[in-house]
Subunit: 391 residues, 2 copies
């Protein structure tokens, strides 16, 4: 059975928090215990592409991720579908000439331009793309801020992927989550010389999922409440100001401190949660040493709920940062993706202990060289065929 299929596509970016989201005050609505800040990474290197389509002849809602059909029975996806259909329905009620898309089933096809093996969490980009694609399909007038409230219900940090550049997730105060949404602090053009490198570290075992980990921390860490209520609000203000002032020294210092504090409250949980491993710690040691040698923050590290390191640095320091990484791991997969890095000279600053280099080279499986980028972008690329199935 076929018929008219309405479709719209979008891309959406990955974001990496520099002030960490950890802990929910409402697990159903994904309402956080503290505000957070992130940097949106370039979609040239990491993005999700999603097509949303609706047709009267579709029998049920369906979703394909990276070529594999996935369940749409989860509460999080259902919440996003329901919210988006509700706002579409308002439009349809106001204008009866509009097709009744809110009553049609949806087919969603989503693909990442990076392999799962890259170890980069994709749920933020995935839910941002899902919400943005359906909003495009439904021609919703809602602002990205308003849509971020919906994406938040899919995956907390997805709300921050609704924007490019430097993004804050305001935790909000309301019980219904109506004021818990993302806002842009600054565009990527405002601070364009920010660069990023992801060092993908092979994990030997499955980590605690962040959903489970967060609630373990909320329920058991006695340091956590103090962090969320007392320390983060102050740090949030300082980091927002550092971004607006393009003060990399402060931004980088706070980024590293907040990553360490996030992993500290994980460790203070019962049972303790460890996301960083020995390789992660060698990366920390390397960056701390380089910063000490130069007497300033040349690069800042941050670690999410896993062992991968994400580094931020300014373009002017590329010879130092990439020069060192090239000396440490000249053969790691990833340099080949950026031909312009061929000219970078492997350089080890005097004072760097090279004994950790072999372990680092062996422990990092991939390097992703990237930068700060924009938010979701509409695209004409449609992933669904005339039968409403993945192309």
């Amino acid at each position: 059975m076929t018929g008219k299929i309405y479709s719209a596509s979008t891309t959406a970016p990955v974001n990496i928090a520099t002030l960490k989201y950890w802990g929910k005050r409402d697990t159903k609505l994904n309402l956080p215990t503290n505000s957070s800040i992130s940097v949106t990474l370039s979609q040239d290197d990491l993005r999700t592409l999603t097509t949303a389509s609706a047709a009267e002849f579709f029998d049920c809602d369906k979703l394909w991720l990276n070529g594999k059909e996935e369940s749409v029975e989860g509460n999080r996806i259902r919440a996003c579908f329901a919210e988006l259909r509700a706002v579409r329905k308002v439009l349809e009620s106001a204008n009866p000439e509009l097709p009744a898309l809110s009553s049609y089933h949806l087919h969603i096809v989503s693909e990442n331009n990076f392999p799962t093996a890259a170890g980069v969490a994709s749920s933020a980009a995935g839910f941002a793309a899902l919400v943005r694609a359906i909003a495009n399909l439904f021609e919703l007038p809602q602002s990205p801020e308003e849509l971020s409230r919906i994406a938040r219900q899919g995956s907390g940090s997805a709300c921050r992927s609704m924007f490019g550049g430097y993004v804050a997730w305001d935790m909000g105060q309301s019980d219904d989550g109506s004021d818990s949404r993302a806002v842009q602090i600054a565009t990527q053009e405002m601070w364009p010389d920010m660069k990023s490198v992801i060092l993908v570290v092979s994990a030997s075992k499955k980590e605690t999922s962040s959903t489970v980990g967060m609630q373990t921390t909320v329920n058991t860490s006695s340091l956590f409440k103090y962090r969320a209520e007392v320390l983060v609000p102050q740090r949030f203000k300082e980091m927002s100001e550092a971004i607006l002032a393009k003060d990399f020294e402060t931004f980088g210092r706070l980024t590293m401190m907040d990553s360490n504090q996030f992993h500290a409250v994980c460790m203070d949980s019962s049972p303790p949660i460890f996301y960083m491993n020995d390789i992660s710690r060698l990366v920390v040691g390397l960056i701390e040493t380089v910063n000490k040698i130069y007497g300033r923050v040349v690069a800042a590290y941050t670690f999410d709920a896993g062992p991968n390191a994400v580094l931020y640095y300014l373009e002017k320091d590329e010879p130092i940062v990439l020069g060192l990484l090239k000396a440490v791991m000249p053969d790691v997969d990833g340099w080949n993706k950026k031909p312009n890095t061929a000219s970078i000279t492997p350089t080890v600053p005097e004072g760097v202990d090279q004994r950790a280099f072999p372990a680092l080279a062996a422990g990092v499986s991939r390097i992703i060289l990237t930068s700060v980028g924009p938010g979701p972008q509409p695209t004409d690329e449609i992933l669904i065929n005339d039968d409403g199935l993945p192309k």
Copy 2:
């Protein structure tokens, strides 16, 4: 040149904190930012033996540790010498017939019954033995509590090695440190079925010294102050009560929580301090799993400023704890030191993931099977010859 040599010897034990000392409010006097609790380990397995001698013909103060002459110019040793001489001098003034030992130079010879390679910090036992040996030589009437104030100035945690069993170090309030001393919570006889195992983990690199690490944490961790001022006082009370009630469940739970929180505030420091490594974390995972399987605290782990794990458990659970360790690391050095463990059957409880076993077996270099023991013991074994030199 020779003449009459006055000598006295003592042994002193190692102690392992279960409520951690981390941070000084006065670095010169070794005054801590919070009270702490420790368990004194049996001297059959780990002890320092020290002879203190004094003679009119000695030219200067001298110290030999494990056969090697060491400097006595450090402020910490000098402080101990000065305090002990001052109290001796009071005795001599009251009784002119006493030899004027307070005016003689001291020769100190100290030996551990465990190799440095065991990775067990020996400064606590070392300073406790030094102070106790000189106090014996000087025939000082001061109580162990009073002497613990002096040992504290040598090495903070040394004050706790002045007692056996279960020991508290009361942080005190005075600026001069006069009320910062150790007190015994309970003797080893009061809770005799407590056992301990140390898993010595090979460290690949030199760790941050605890003196440096503590002050980095005090100066930079925003979680630290909250721990020291708000959380530790409550935990101190709970752990003291658990020891007096022989409530292993509470004692063990608090011990694990406090170890994790200590390492959490280390990680929250700038630069972050990491003492635990991947092997340490595998031990944590193993013990947490076993406790979960049995639905109670079978064993409790704690980690000091290094990767070694110290486990506490009750004798009745020896088949579970040692049975599991024997299954994981049957060939590790240490079983052979306790012939009675030959009868322990290697046993892996259902539900324990055995994939980590090879890494654990490779990463643990030695196992020390021990128990709770008494404080310093006088001994007739003299390590100094008639020339005042090490035998």
